[in-house]
Amino acid sequence: MLPDRHGRYGPYGGQFVPETLMPALLELEEAYRRISRLPDFRQEVAWYLKDYVGRPTPLYFARHLTEALGGPQIYIKREDLAHTGAHKINNTLGQGLLARRMGKRRVIAETGAGQHGVATATVAALLGLECDIYMGTEDIRRQRLNVIRMRVLGARVIPVESGSRTLKDAMNEAIRDWVTNVRHTHYVLGSVGGPHPYPMIVRDFQAVIGREARAQVRRATGRLPQCLVACVGGGSNAMGLFHAFVQEDVRFVGVEAAGHGLTSGYHSATLVAGSQGVLHGAFSYLLQDPWGNIQEAHSLAPGLDYPGVGPEHAYFKDAGRAEYVAVTDKEALEGFKLLSKTEGILPALESAHAVAYLKQLAPQYGKDDIIIVNLSGRGDKDMEAVAEALEVSGDAH
């Protein structure tokens, strides 16, 4: 099973970090391999996932959405119903418990949409860890509610003014903090990117999504699905859903953000339109100029607004194991409206990208076929952006 002992998925992955961090990555890998095998650690994680996070999250048969699309049966994996409103908690809980066992007293994280920041701040409050969250000022502007949530939970939110003031820059600052405070601080990386062992650890903690979905769809239908679809920024919710099905004859579709369109220069479609390179510690696909400088990403969905992607997705792309597509901001908003009106579920703008692509997928399948879409988060955090984009008034008249 990948990664290999150099932290590689085929040619992708690796550990491209300053020397100061190398011993910490080696320590983290050793600790993770040792601790994650311990029966009492596994019981601890399982207990918190059930009684604190509220797992298993439902696999919901979306009858009305299915009818609206007129094709295959659509099942929705309801990660939006997990505590804090997104799948991010699966990973932050696992890493928080790991950090505590490693004797770290402080956790830090980067955040884009704020969901990973909230999930980290939540676990820090739960486990009594000191917590600092790095967030670009552009994202702070877009995601005020999540900033308030983090602060109420006791975390410090550190505004990042550099670069595009979004997720990439927040991650640079988080890494700089980790370089400085590595002896007592654990960096809770939020996606399946970054240097090894993070892509492996985050995947493993998120794989609960696919394990549950697999058992649930079997129980409900007696079969496996034909297709899985999920949005991809860094790629943690997609990898979490896909992983339990890797050996099966099930199609994987990852949906990236095409922003204003793939030719507009304003998008985040790393796998669809990017090229190979090194960013934030890993060799993968990324958005860059001809001289290797990282380009700014764009998406209406802050959680997809990142110019890199996890190395295992890069491997899946090259191996043909998964296919990656992109939908625009506008299409994502259509997806948002569709799910809201047919099922009464407000998806996060990130997840709305996956929902939107169902329109393309549905005609390719028959009525007996099954598609599972991962609803990675709920849309409450996006209501201001949605109100603006869809011109919905919150006033009395």
Partner: protein, 265 residues
């Protein structure tokens, strides 16, 4: 023998230590960098370290991040930094070391980087996000071409990694003085000298220390324990503040002041 090795050997004979100043190439423009580099070489620098601007310099503090951004805004890219090194090589024999993050080098091509650097008279590279584990292919190409792949060791490294870095590095071993990012600091870690003594006992190669060193007094305190001292942000701060002849003179004077305590008795 490479130019870097020759310099450390000569200095050792004279009982001197190397001053290794860093500036970001193209900050605020390439002409200024060239003038600064020649002035630094004239005023006592022994090895010059030129930064390749990069959009996401994650081992650097605010001072060098800002320098990188100024250079990028001036449109400076890796090819131009190589060509600048070539121009400098026409006018000085001082060893030239390029400091740059891995992705721009990777995009340019490892083999192409090595052959162009060699052709233009570059002597070595410091790539802060390319640790020993990932450096194999780069190191083989560089060493085969007679370029020095210069590795770093940090306070977190531990004896085994320091020994390995000392074996694999060429030119010198760059010891990072602080657990942290680049940037001038008022005070260096209290245990730095003990750490340098420990490193010295673990490696055979020349040893230079850098990160946070900003005053002649700090340089003087470290000189007995190392073969060279790197000063970066303290110079870059001056580049950010001053312009024209005033900048050249200020940096020249600063280099002379930093070099004085390294000249031996």
């Amino acid at each position: 023998m490479t130019r870097i090795e020759a310099v450390f050997r000569q200095l050792k004979k004279r009982g001197e230590k190397a001053l290794i100043p860093f500036i970001t190439a193209g900050d605020p423009d390439l002409q200024t960098t060239k003038a600064l580099a020649l002035e630094m070489a004239a005023k006592g620098a022994d090895v010059l370290e030129l930064g390749i601007p990069f959009s996401d310099p994650l081992a650097d503090g605010p001072t060098i991040q800002a320098a990188s951004l100024r250079a990028l805004q001036a449109g400076v890219h890796f090819q131009q930094v190589l060509e600048l090194a070539g121009e400098l090589r026409q006018e000085t024999d001082i060893p030239l070391v390029l400091m740059g993050y891995y992705n721009p080098i990777l995009q340019y091509g490892l083999e192409r980087t090595v052959s162009e650097a060699k052709r233009l008279g570059v002597d070595g590279f410091i790539i802060p996000d390319l640790p020993l584990e990932e450096a194999g292919p780069w190191r083989r190409l560089a060493v085969a071409a007679g370029l020095a792949p210069i590795f770093l060791a940090a306070p977190t490294s531990g004896p085994e990694r320091i020994k390995k870095a000392g074996r694999l590095t060429r030119g010198f071993l760059y010891y990072v003085s602080v657990t942290g990012i680049t940037g001038a600091r008022q005070a260096l870690p209290a245990d730095l000298i003990a750490a340098l003594q420990e490193v010295r006992a673990l490696v055979q190669c020349p040893l230079a220390v850098g990160f946070g060193i900003s005053t002649p007094e700090q340089v003087q305190g470290l000189a007995p324990y190392v073969d060279g001292v790197v000063v970066g942000s303290a110079i870059v701060q001056r580049v950010a503040k001053l312009k024209g002849p005033e900048l050249i003179k200020e940096v020249g004077d600063f280099i002379a002041a930093l070099k004085a305590p390294l000249r031996g008795k």
